[in-house]
């Protein structure tokens, strides 16, 4: 059986563009790389069959420019577009434009991207599919404050007021008691109108020390869907994940499997196609849906390491009309995997550190995988994301994986820019991390203790 396309346009840059180029090679597909002016030294551009500059360095006129990306596909004869993550990967208007141009988006249909991008609609669909959700308001909060108070009383305090069209912490307010509700709604609504041109708010229960647990899914166009594994991505700073692992430590496998089945049901109910992730908060033995990411995720390799499944290859195959090459009962979980995101940033202040790579010595050995577009002499441009490498390890147990990560981090040398390697080395030695006794607030608390210490000196 063959795919409905033979040439894939990689509409992204950096490590994920390289990951996609490699998957195309494995599948015997031709690939086209696109780049912004001045960003032509990326490693994947040497692997693709054709590379083309689509516009100026500013992402809005290149990687984020829907019309230019589509024009590049037309001009190079690519029939499919892989959006990677970030940029246009969750842009419903882009997905629709790709379909209208008669091309294939390697991702779900535009209507699903749009529905999952609307938090109220996503929540409604999850409730209908039996996916556990936080206690919350069903639709948008009414303007009438008496009604809003009654609805929030039913949700229970503490709660969080969120913008329906929002993300990234904007249009969000934690409300500890009814006395704080009026002003929280007022300011959140102002922010929401300002940032997202949509003043719709909803409220849901606020968890104090949750973990971030997510489920990787894959679905084909024949209506088959399966869940691959769970991941724990609790080590975060400002909603940016830094360390991810699979499986989640200390959660009953039966509970995870039940959650996975709910996610599969939700995929089948909405007609999902491709790779996707259901994100949850986990507290006191219960999961609560937060959002669905309708794309490939940065941390997909940890799931690949414990299941042996090439998620990107499967994603491309199903977009090309092939059925999933595995079934649920063939999926097994082998050992433990951890990923550290190596960012070109100051490891204490997290200020981006672009510049020329003067030294590059990636680590190796059993169970060590490096996903990176770096090479010696490459200059990291300042205009884009600071992720420069993903260091992924696989061990028999979590302790074994931590030991391998420590060794690999110690071996890894990146010269010329500051990186988050020292922070990861420290985390691998932290007793709370080693015992997996962490919530989504763990890293920020650890870092704020540092600030307190340095202020006192």
């Amino acid at each position: 059986m063959t795919l409905t396309f033979d040439t894939v346009l990689i509409a992204n840059r950096g490590e994920v563009a390289l990951r996609i180029a490699r998957a195309c090679k494995v599948l015997g597909l031709a690939s086209v790389g696109l780049y912004a002016e001045g960003d032509d030294a990326q490693r994947h551009l040497a692997l693709v069959d054709r590379a083309i500059c689509i516009g100026p360095a500013a992402p809005g006129k290149s990687y984020l420019d829907k019309e230019r990306v589509l024009r590049a596909a037309r001009l190079t004869g690519a029939q499919a577009i892989h959006p990677g993550y970030g940029f246009l990967s969750e842009n419903a208007a882009f997905a629709q434009a790709v379909a209208e141009a008669g091309l294939t988006l390697i991702g779900p249909p535009a209507a699903i991207i749009r529905a999952m991008g609307d938090k109220i609609e996503a929540r409604r669909q999850m409730m209908a599919a039996g996916v556990p959700c936080l206690p919350g308001t069903e639709g948008a909060l009414p303007e009438d404050m008496a009604q809003a108070h009654a609805l929030c009383e039913a949700v229970g305090y503490p709660l969080i007021v969120k913008a329906s069209g929002g993300g990234g912490g904007r249009g969000m307010r934690v409300v500890n008691s009814p006395a704080e509700l009026d002003s929280a709604i007022q300011t959140a609504r102002q922010e929401a109108v300002h940032a997202f041109a949509n003043g719709d708010l909803y409220a849901e229960r606020f968890l104090t020390t949750p973990r971030h647990i997510e489920i990787q899914v894959l679905a084909d166009q024949m209506g088959h869907a399966l869940w691959l594994s769970d991941r724990d991505c609790s080590v975060q700073r400002r909603h940016q994940k830094l360390v991810e692992e699979a499986p989640a430590h200390g959660i009953s496998r039966a509970a995870v499997a039940e959650l996975g089945q709910h996610c599969v049901a939700a995929c089948q109910r909405m007609g999902y196609v491709g790779a996707g992730t259901f994100e949850f908060l986990y507290e006191d033995g219960r999961f609560y849906f937060i959002e669905m990411n309708t794309r490939l995720q940065v941390e997909h390799p940890v799931t690949e390491m414990v299941t042996g499944i090439d998620i990107v290859a499967e994603q491309i195959r199903v977009a090309g009309g092939l059925p999933l090459s595995i079934s649920q009962d063939q999926i097994t979980l082998d050992g433990h995997s951890i990923e550290c995101r190596i960012n070109a940033e100051d490891p204490q202040k997290f200020i981006p550190s672009p510049g020329k790579i003067t030294r590059w010595r990636p680590p190796g050995g059993p169970g060590v995988r490096v996903e990176s577009h770096l090479y010696e002499g490459y200059t990291i441009p300042p205009s884009y994301d600071s992720l420069i490498a993903k260091l992924v390890v696989h061990g028999a147990t979590r302790a074994d994986a931590i030991a391998r990560m420590k060794a690999a981090l110690g071996e890894m040398e990146i010269g010329g820019v500051l990186t988050t390697i020292p922070l990861h080395q420290r985390l691998m030695d932290e007793s709370a991390f080693k015992s997996a006794d962490i919530s989504v607030h763990y890293l920020e608390k650890l870092l704020s203790r540092d600030d307190g210490g340095s202020n006192g000196q």
Partner: protein, 142 residues
């Protein structure tokens, strides 16, 4: 009544033409079909950079001047739909001369020589897709 409609229609068409010229970074349009002549010269857009003049200035002692494509599009040696031979290696060009064209959807953009000299290399063939600022010609100093 009918003439009012015709005027409104003509204004709407002009607006459309100007918008397309702006989109393509065009400054001058000279249309002549033997009966009607339309000459449009647009004032520079405030704050906007001209896509055609975006190429970097040549270095002080240029070995050769690179002629970049004005945009991502299809290369044409002559203005479509006309056909012809276009420029050849060894041809002399002067600064500002239109050397070829790049078609971007409904718009045809000129490829302009940034400096005078003699064409050393031609890197694109008729109908080829070319990238934004991709070097299409090299001009050796005369």
């Amino acid at each position: 009544m009918g003439s009012n409609h015709a005027v409104t229609d003509r204004v709407a068409r002009l607006r459309d033409i100007v918008a397309r010229m702006r989109q393509g970074g065009m400054a001058l349009l000279d249309y002549d079909d033997g009966q009607t002549r339309l000459l449009l010269r647009l004032a520079p857009e405030p704050g906007a950079q001209n896509a055609v003049s975006a190429p970097l200035p040549p270095p002080a002692q240029p070995a050769s001047a690179a002629v970049p494509s004005p945009d991502l599009g299809v290369f044409h040696a002559t203005h479509p739909p006309a056909s012809g031979k276009g420029m050849a290696v060894g041809d002399k060009v002067s600064a500002g001369q239109i050397m070829a064209f790049v078609e971007v959807g409904p718009i045809v953009l000129p490829v302009v020589a940034p400096a005078g000299g003699q064409i050393g290399t031609i890197n694109a063939v008729e109908g080829q897709s070319v990238g934004y600022h991709e070097v299409l010609f090299e001009i050796a100093p005369a």
